[in-house]
Amino acid sequence: MTDWLGMTPNPRNPRPELRARVLARATQPEARGARWGWLAAAALVALALGGAAGYWTRNTIAALAAERDRLAAALAVVRDTLGFVRGPATRVAWVPVTTNGRLGGVTIFADSATRRWLVRCEGMAPSEPGETYQIWFVTADGMKRAATMTMDERESTVMAMAFDVPSDVGAVTGAAMSIEPRSGSTQPRGPMVFHLRL
């Protein structure tokens, strides 16, 4: 029971002038300014850290989302390409081409089940300014527009493109490529690069 031991020493009356001083000091408002200053500074630091963390998180999420979309697109392309290789209804044709004195080749994967084509060109001369290579579906009703492929000098000499066979195009019996204006033509008018039956 040490609670009461504090009353063991004899009491001592304080000097009378101490009373007012002690009471005034005790009841004066606490110097909260400094404390609030520290609290405000701490809050600001926390806010800044939180903002920076939020900014970093937002940027990171945006970058990761962009990367995810890019990878998803690349995966879709790979799956699409693989689908041509594995498709039971895919026919493959390769034709050598000579463009502007350069020897190259065009490979066509034609999937009749999904009505999708994959065309791969390699070793072809760059397109002249204002010109493009245009691919055609050969049907019983004549040649129908398929796609345009513009070879750029700065790019690789290999270019691949996948596209659908439109539903209004009837049975496709072959493929052709001609050199047309950059905007493409409704009917082949330029020099024919190749024409083959599938």
Binding site: G6, M7, N13, P16
Partner: protein, 199 residues
């Protein structure tokens, strides 16, 4: 010695409630009732008047600012205030950088109280509120065997740890612990009838 103000029974009952209600006059009444005891305790521990008066001031500042922390279930008001005074005084004692200059004065005091005896109550103080408690505590402490009383005094008034007491007194640590435990038991038994005289 001037006579500290006596509190009426009604004032005693409502003092704590008024303190918690931030009634400054209640603090003044508490000061009048307890300042002599706080100063007496601080002086006993510090043996230095200016430092004891500083502790006195600190105690009432702390009481006023933290009165909400006092819960009746945790003990009466007076021991709570005195425990603040003791802790403040011991803190000051430990902080003291002028220890070496006061060592001689301390040596004198310790020689006088080497057996843990405390000055007998001064009859001139008999009118001070709380005087019966003072007498009861004094008697309980005085009734302890010298070895036990000395250990209690070293622990309470100098804030020494068990190990420090053992070194100071040259007693085995286990003996110090045993004597302190027995002394606390005796004090608790002797003072169990004491009620808070200031509520």
């Amino acid at each position: 010695m001037t006579q500290p103000k006596r509190l009426s029974q009604e004032d005693e009952h409502t003092l704590l409630r008024r303190l918690k209600a931030r009634d400054e006059s209640a603090l003044a009444e508490l000061y009048d009732a307890l300042a002599p005891w706080v100063l007496g305790l601080a002086s006993r521990i510090l043996q230095d008047d200016p430092e004891a008066e500083e502790v006195l001031s600190d105690v009432f500042v702390q009481v006023w600012r933290h009165i909400d922390q006092h819960e009746k279930s945790r003990g009466p008001l007076v021991p709570w205030v005195l425990s603040i005074a003791r802790n403040r005084a011991l803190d000051a004692l430990r902080r003291r950088h002028r220890w070496w200059r006061k060592a001689e004065r301390w040596g004198d005091a310790l020689r006088l109280e080497d057996d843990g005896a405390v000055p007998a109550p001064d009859p001139a103080d008999a009118a001070v509120p709380g005087w019966p408690v003072h007498q009861a505590v004094h008697a309980a402490l005085a009734a302890l065997p010298v070895d036990q009383r000395r250990i209690v005094v070293l622990a309470y008034f100098e804030g020494l740890t068990h190990s420090e007491i053992a070194r100071r007194t040259g007693q085995p640590l286990g003996t110090v612990k045993t004597r302190l435990r027995i002394a606390h038991g005796k004090l608790a038994e002797a003072l169990k009838h004491v009620k808070d005289w200031l509520r």
